[in-house]
């Protein structure tokens, strides 16, 4: 059984078919990328997994559990965390506070104990703080620990969002364009982090990404989408040289010239 199984899922917005009979399997420990031109339905797949949309048919299971039976707020409890293309942070809060919200699903003490701030609550808080500090060390966020998000540059916010997702200790991490808007250097860092997230933390990663350089360096498996349907699936090299993929990106002429998607 694969960790994440998507089976013949279709989603329509009115007359537009956003995702068309898509099936895919993400194995535990993989770094899996969804690629494709703008509007291909990559982010929509993420929104389906996180229950923002409900498909017209098909099934999505995570670790054997039916994801489609869950409410959006129950998905994180399965161990699925995500980041967003346009960064969704708590802007009036500090980096530390944002990461601590990532621990929300692990808070267990009851409200009365929390109001009284009993020793059990304090012990739990210390454990959460400890977990968050590990993430801060991992992502080198120490200089920003107590900065408000509203005053931070884009590149740092992107890392904070990744940190918040990691703080929830997920089994599957959904990264929506982790390298978009980042400098060459920041993209390089992102690459090492994704490698370490898989190797050291044992977290499975599913990402949407346009930067094929990054994809070919960190991913084991790539699925190319166009118009909501699967074009090709395989290793990064296989997908990049697949004629249908080249056609979708560059047009039919490029195929005859033996082009390759950069």
């Amino acid at each position: 059984m694969s960790l994440l199984e998507i089976d013949s899922v279709t989603l329509k917005f009115g007359g537009v078919t956003a995702v068309n009979n898509l099936s895919m399997r993400v194995e535990e420990g993989q770094v899996f990328a969804l690629v494709g031109p703008n509007g291909a339905g990559k982010s929509t797949v993420f929104n389906l997994i996180s229950r923002f949309y409900t498909p017209v048919n098909g099934s999505i299971t995570f670790d054997g559990k039916d994801v489609l039976k869950m409410a959006p707020h129950e998905v994180p409890n399965l161990g699925i965390a995500r980041t967003f293309q346009n960064i969704e942070l708590f802007h009036q809060a500090t980096v530390l506070q944002n990461l601590l919200v990532g621990r929300h699903r692990h808070r267990q003490t009851n409200m009365i104990a929390q109001m009284l701030h009993l020793p059990s609550v304090r012990a739990e808080e210390r454990a959460h703080r400890h977990a968050v500090e590990e993430v801060i060390d991992f992502l080198d966020l120490q200089p920003y620990r107590n900065s408000r998000i509203a005053g931070l540059p884009y590149g740092v916010r992107k890392v904070v969002e990744l940190g918040r997702a990691l703080a929830s200790k997920p089994r599957l991490l959904l990264l929506d364009e982790p390298a978009s808007g980042l400098s060459v250097e920041e993209t390089q860092n992102m690459r090492w982090w994704i490698d370490d997230i898989r190797r050291q933390m044992g977290i499975t990663v599913l990402m949407v990404e346009h930067d094929m350089g990054l994809v070919s360096k960190v991913c084991d498996r790539v699925l190319a989408l166009a118009d909501g349907a699967k074009l090709a699936e395989g290793t990064p090299a296989e997908v990049q040289s697949h004629p249908k993929v080249i056609e979708a990106y560059l047009g039919t002429n490029a195929v005859s010239k033996g082009g390759k998607v950069a």
């Binding site: 707020h73 998905v75 995500r82 969704e88 009036q92 990532g102 808070r107 003490t109 109001m115 509203a150």
Partner: protein, 291 residues
């Protein structure tokens, strides 16, 4: 001495304004809508207490009635969100404003029908009479109101700083989408905010009724509380309380030291001044970024 007397009665009034203003801000932060019925919630909370406690009605001992009042007002807030406000979910702000204004009318009418329109007084354990110290006359009710408000503020502080639900409320008010993906049931949390606003209104109502007579038009002080919330910076909980205290203190001083009639307009004059010179309020959390 006179100054101290004015200050204490002003602070006591200000506490009631502040608690209503707190209700405004709670709802605003959670749903980005202004609940213009918050003053009438306060009045309703006071009448529910009166109906349970006063001997001519149910006659339940005050301290037994208190949890009942909180349950009733909390439930009412929660149901209001589920039944009425979710029906206008996604509509423009104006729809919510009109719905809550209408709600105020409904509450005033219903309360008048049930308990009558004549002024009544609540058998409150806080209505303690006056105490004289030299030529200083202090209303013990005023002091009790200030103490209860302090305790309430402390409880709310603990709730928002340390409880899972309080933190979830803060998170949901800043970014609903992100809150969902942190495992926060945003809609249920919004219902809980309305419940909390109902409970805070009940406390404000009991304090109000402990200081004097109560009738169905009492909710109109919600307008002053609204001014207090704006002065404090809409969206800031401590700001709302401080705004309430400022409005409360200005009134008796304006009545004493300014020409007749000025005390009525003083809070609004301050409101206009604040809007002109510090449009985000005196204690706003969001400030324009300096460039």
């Amino acid at each position: 001495m006179e100054v101290l007397q004015l200050l204490i009665s002003g602070l006591a009034n200000g506490c009631v304004y502040g608690l209503i203003a707190l209700g405004f801000v709670l709802i605003y932060k959670a749903t980005e809508a202004v609940n213009f019925a918050q003053g009438d919630f306060m009045m309703l909370g006071a009448f529910v207490t009166l109906g349970l406690v006063n001997p001519e009605y149910a006659g339940i001992p005050f301290w037994l009635a208190l949890p009942l009042v909180f349950i009733i007002m909390g439930l009412l807030g929660y149901l209001l969100d589920i039944v009425v406000l979710r029906a206008v979910f996604g509509q423009s702000q104006v729809a919510v404003i009109i719905v809550t204004i209408a709600l105020g009318f409904v509450i005033r009418f219903a309360v008048g029908e049930i308990w009558g329109h004549e002024p009544q007084s609540l058998r409150s354990p806080l209505a303690l009479g006056d105490v004289r110290i030299g030529d200083l006359v202090l209303g013990l009710a005023d002091i009790a109101v200030i103490i209860v408000t302090l305790i309430m503020t402390l409880l709310l502080w603990q709730f928002f700083q340390h409880t899972k639900m309080g933190l979830a409320m803060q998170a949901a008010s800043q970014n609903q989408m992100a809150a969902y993906y942190m495992g926060i049931p945003v809609k249920r949390i919004q219902g809980m905010v309305w419940a909390l606003a109902g409970i805070v209104a009940a406390v404000a109502g009991i304090l109000y009724a402990s200081k004097g007579a109560l009738d169905p038009t009492a909710g109109f002080i919600g307008i002053k509380a609204f001014a207090a919330a704006v002065i404090g910076g809409f969206g800031s909980l401590p700001g709302a309380l401080l705004g309430g205290l400022i409005v409360g203190v200005i009134e008796p001083f304006a009545a004493r030291y300014l020409p007749p009639g000025w005390s009525q307009i003083a809070p609004y004059a301050l409101l206009i001044a604040v809007l002109l010179f510090r449009p985000h309020g005196l204690f706003a959390q969001v400030r324009a970024k300096k460039v």
